[in-house]
Amino acid sequence: MTEKFEIYYLDDEQDLCDIVEEYGEIANIAVSTFTNHENAIAACADTEPDILFIDYRLQGITGDKVAQRISDAVTKVLVTVELQPPTLAGFSSVLAKPFDLKDFLEIITKYREAKF
C-alpha cells in the first residue's frame, strides 16, 4: 500500500466516526472523519480525498446537499438507512446503514483498484 489513497467520512454520530477511524488504522487506510459538514466541505476544498462517505441525515442538512458543494472529481458514497433515498444524484455508490466493516472495506477496495 504505497500509493496514497485518502478517505473522508462524514457522519454526525461521533461513535461511528471513531469506529471508522480505528478500522482505518487496522486496515491501513488513511481515514479522516468529520461530524460537521462544513468542516468536511472545507477539508475537501483543501485536499480532495479519493472517496467521501456522506451520511444522508446530518445535523440541519441532508447528504445530497453536501455532495452538491463538493467537486465532481471526488467519488462520493451515500451512507443511509433510507430504503429508497430521495436522490442518488452525485453519488457513485450507496452503503446501507448499519454496515458491516467488511462492506465498508469492499467499497474502498473497489475504487482503489480502479485507481491503481
Partner: protein
C-alpha cells in the same frame, strides 16, 4: 119449479134472494157455508149488518142502482164471517120489479185477492228504484218508467217508439249484443252490465235483467228490462282500479311490496311486487303460510324475523329490519322489511307491512365501507411508515455503533478467544434487529405507485414470519415451515407480505387459547402456480359461517381483536395479483390456500 129449487140449493156459487130494505129471503147452502152462520140466523139478520163498514156506502149505492134497473156485475165487498173475519165476495145481481126482490149470485174471491195483493207488493218491492223499460220484439221501446227518463236525460216522448239502440254507447262489441239477443229470443232471461249513453253524451251503467214476456199462445210478445243504476260504483271501481295500477307501478319502481299476515290462520297475503322481490311464483288461489315466508330469509336472519313477527303478534310492537332474503330461486339479496299489528275489538287480528329490495343501496354502502376501511388501513400504514422511518434512523445509528465495535473487537483481537463467540452473538443479534427494522419499514411502505416485480416467494414468507415473530413468541405458537420451494412470483412485495402476515396473525388469534399451538406454512409448486397453504391447529370454521368469511365486516373475533385487513381486503389484494384464496380443511384443521401464478 122443483128443478130451480135444486139448482139453487146445489149451486157451487153463493145464491140468495133479498129484499131492497136489507132482508134475506132465501140463501143457499154455499152462502151459509161461506159465512159460517146457521141458515135461520141469516134469514133473521139484515144483510147490511154483514157488510164491512168501509164497503157499506158502495154497497148501498150499488143497491140503489139495482133498484133503478141496472145490473150488478162483479161488485166486490167484504162480508163478515161468523168467526168475525171477513170474506171477499164478488157479486152479480139483478132486481125484479114485479116481486120487488133482488136475485144475487156471488163467488168468494178472498184467496185470489190476497194473493193478488201479495204479488202486487212483491212487484212494488222489486221494481222500487228500478229503471224499467219494455221493448217489442224488434227492440222498439214501448214502455219506460220515470226513472229511466231521468237517468237517460231523454223525455218519454223522445224514447217511446224508438229502438233501444238509441242509447248504445258503442262500448260493447257486436258479439255482446248478438249473444244477448240469442238468449232472450230463445226465451231465457239475460243478465249483465250494459254501458249506455245519455242524451248529453255521458255514460251510465245499468245492471240489467231482460225478461222475455209471453202472450197467451206462449209466443214472446215483448222484452221487459229491469235495471239498476251502477254508474257510481263502476266509476269508483274504475278510479280504484287505476289507483291500484298506479300504486302497483310505483311499487315496482321503488321495489316495495306489501304483505299481510292473518294471525289466526297464519295465511300470508302478498302484493305482486312481494312475489317478484322474493322470486316466488304466484299460484292462483294459493296463499303462502307464515313458516314458508320465514324460510325465504337466510338461516342466520330467520330467528331475527321470527322473533320480530312473534313480538308484533303478541305485544303489538312494530318492527323494521334490514335482513338478507334467500329467494325461491336461491338468490340472496338485502331487503328492508317492516310490520305492524292491526287490531279489531282490541285484539291483534293481523300484521301488515312492506318489504323492499335494498340490494343496490346495501351493495353501495358495503362498497363504501370497504373503501373507507381500505383508506383507514392505508392511513394507518402511512403513520406506521413515518414512525418506522424515524425509528429506523434512531435505531440504526446506535446499532451501527454496536455492530461496528463488535466488529473491531474481533478484528483487533482485543478479546480473548473464549469471548469471541459472545461478541459474534452481539453481532448476530444486532443484525437481527437491523433485519426487523428493515422489514417493518418495508411492510409499512406505502408507495404512491404500486411496484410489481418478480419476488422470491420464500423470502416474502420468511419476512412475514419475521414480523410476526414477537407475537408468535408471546403466544408460544410454533411455526412449521414445510416443503419450501424456491420460486418467483410477479407481485407487489409489500402487499403480499401484508396478506401473509394477516393470515399468520389470524391463525395466532385462532390458536392462542388452545393447548396445541402451531401454524404450518407449506409452499407447493404446481405446473403454472405456486401455492402457499397456511394451516393452523384450530379445528376449522363452522360450516354455516364458511361462505361468509370473505364478506366485508365479517369477523368471529371480539371487537378488541378484530383488527387487521380482514379477509375481504385480502381477497381484493389477491384479485389485483390475479391470485386467489380458498378456505379448506386440512386433516380437520383450519387452512387457507393461496395460489399465485408463477413469474
Amino acid at each position: 119449479m122443483e128443478n130451480y129449487k135444486k139448482f139453487f140449493d146445489l149451486s157451487l156459487d153463493i145464491m140468495c134472494i133479498a129484499t131492497p130494505d136489507g132482508r134475506l129471503e132465501r140463501v143457499n147452502g154455499v152462502f151459509t157455508e161461506c159465512l159460517g152462520y146457521p141458515h135461520d140466523d141469516l134469514l133473521s139478520m139484515r144483510y147490511f149488518d154483514l157488510i164491512h163498514p168501509d164497503d157499506l156506502k158502495a154497497s148501498e149505492r150499488e143497491l140503489t142502482d139495482l133498484g133503478s134497473g141496472h145490473l150488478t156485475k162483479n161488485f166486490e165487498n167484504r162480508c163478515r164471517h161468523a168467526d168475525r173475519s171477513y170474506r171477499i165476495i164478488s157479486w152479480s145481481a139483478s132486481a125484479d120489479s114485479e116481486s120487488n126482490l133482488i136475485f144475487a149470485m156471488g163467488r168468494e174471491i178472498t184467496n185470489q185477492v190476497v194473493e193478488q195483493d201479495r204479488l202486487g207488493q212483491i212487484e212494488t218491492a222489486l221494481i222500487a228504484d228500478k229503471i224499467i223499460s219494455e221493448t217489442d220484439r224488434r227492440g222498439d221501446i214501448i214502455f219506460l218508467n220515470d226513472e229511466y227518463c231521468r237517468l237517460s236525460g231523454y223525455s218519454r216522448e223522445e224514447l217511446l217508439g224508438k229502438n233501444h239502440r238509441l242509447l248504445n254507447s258503442a262500448y260493447h262489441p257486436k258479439q255482446f249484443f248478438d249473444d244477448l239477443w240469442q238468449k232472450v229470443s230463445a226465451g231465457e232471461v239475460w243478465s249483465g252490465l250494459i254501458r249506455n249513453q245519455k242524451k248529453n253524451g255521458d255514460y251510465f251503467y245499468l245492471q240489467t235483467l231482460i225478461i222475455p214476456m209471453f202472450d197467451m199462445m206462449g209466443t214472446i210478445s215483448s222484452y221487459l228490462s229491469v235495471c239498476q243504476d251502477q254508474t257510481n260504483s263502476v266509476m269508483h271501481e274504475g278510479a280504484f282500479t287505476r289507483t291500484l295500477e298506479i300504486l302497483n307501478e310505483t311499487s315496482a319502481i321503488a321495489k316495495v311490496g306489501g304483505w299481510e299476515l292473518d294471525v289466526a290462520s297464519g295465511e300470508l297475503t302478498w302484493t305482486d311486487e312481494t312475489f317478484k322481490i322474493l322470486e316466488v311464483e304466484k299460484q292462483h288461489g294459493q296463499k303462502p303460510m307464515l313458516p314458508e315466508g320465514l324460510q325465504l330469509f337466510i338461516p342466520e336472519h330467520i330467528p331475527l324475523v321470527e322473533e320480530a313477527v312473534n313480538r308484533a303478534m303478541t305485544t303489538g310492537e312494530p318492527y323494521a329490519l334490514e335482513v338478507q332474503a334467500r329467494t325461491a330461486k336461491g338468490n340472496v339479496l338485502w331487503v328492508y322489511t317492516n310490520g305492524k299489528a292491526n287490531y279489531a275489538d282490541g285484539k291483534i287480528v293481523s300484521l301488515s307491512g312492506t318489504i323492499q329490495d335494498i340490494q343496490a343501496r346495501k351493495t353501495a354502502e358495503i362498497k363504501y365501507e370497504e373503501e373507507r376501511q381500505k383508506s383507514l388501513h392505508a392511513a394507518k400504514m402511512v403513520s406506521l411508515g413515518e414512525l418506522a422511518a424515524s425509528m429506523a434512523h434512531d435505531i440504526n445509528n446506535p446499532l451501527g455503533v454496536i455492530l461496528g465495535y463488535a466488529d473491531l473487537l474481533i478484528q483487533t483481537n482485543a478479546v480473548a478467544p473464549s469471548h469471541v463467540k459472545k461478541v459474534e452473538s452481539i453481532k448476530k443479534a444486532s443484525a437481527r434487529i437491523q433485519h426487523i427494522v428493515q422489514s417493518l419499514r418495508k411492510y409499512s411502505r406505502t408507495d404512491s405507485e404500486k411496484k410489481f416485480e418478480n419476488c422470491n416467494l420464500q423470502l416474502v414468507i420468511e419476512e412475514a414470519i419475521e414480523l410476526a415473530r414477537p407475537r408468535l413468541k408471546n403466544e408460544s405458537v410454533e411455526v412449521r415451515l414445510q416443503n419450501s420451494v424456491i420460486g418467483e412470483i410477479f407481485c407487489n412485495h409489500i402487499e403480499i407480505e401484508q396478506v401473509l402476515l394477516n393470515l399468520i396473525n389470524n391463525s395466532i388469534d385462532a390458536v392462542s387459547r388452545l393447548d396445541d399451538k402451531w401454524i404450518a406454512i407449506e409452499t407447493i409448486a404446481e405446473p403454472d402456480k405456486y401455492c402457499v397453504s397456511i394451516t393452523d391447529s384450530g379445528l376449522g370454521i363452522a360450516s354455516e359461517l364458511q361462505y361468509r368469511i370473505f364478506e366485508t365486516f365479517f369477523t368471529t373475533k371480539t371487537a378488541d381483536r378484530g383488527t387487521g385487513l380482514g379477509l375481504s381486503i385480502i381477497v381484493g389484494i389477491l384479485e389485483e395479483h390475479d391470485a386467489q384464496i380458498d378456505y379448506l380443511l386440512n386433516n380437520g384443521h383450519t387452512c387457507f390456500k393461496l395460489s399465485f401464478n408463477k413469474a
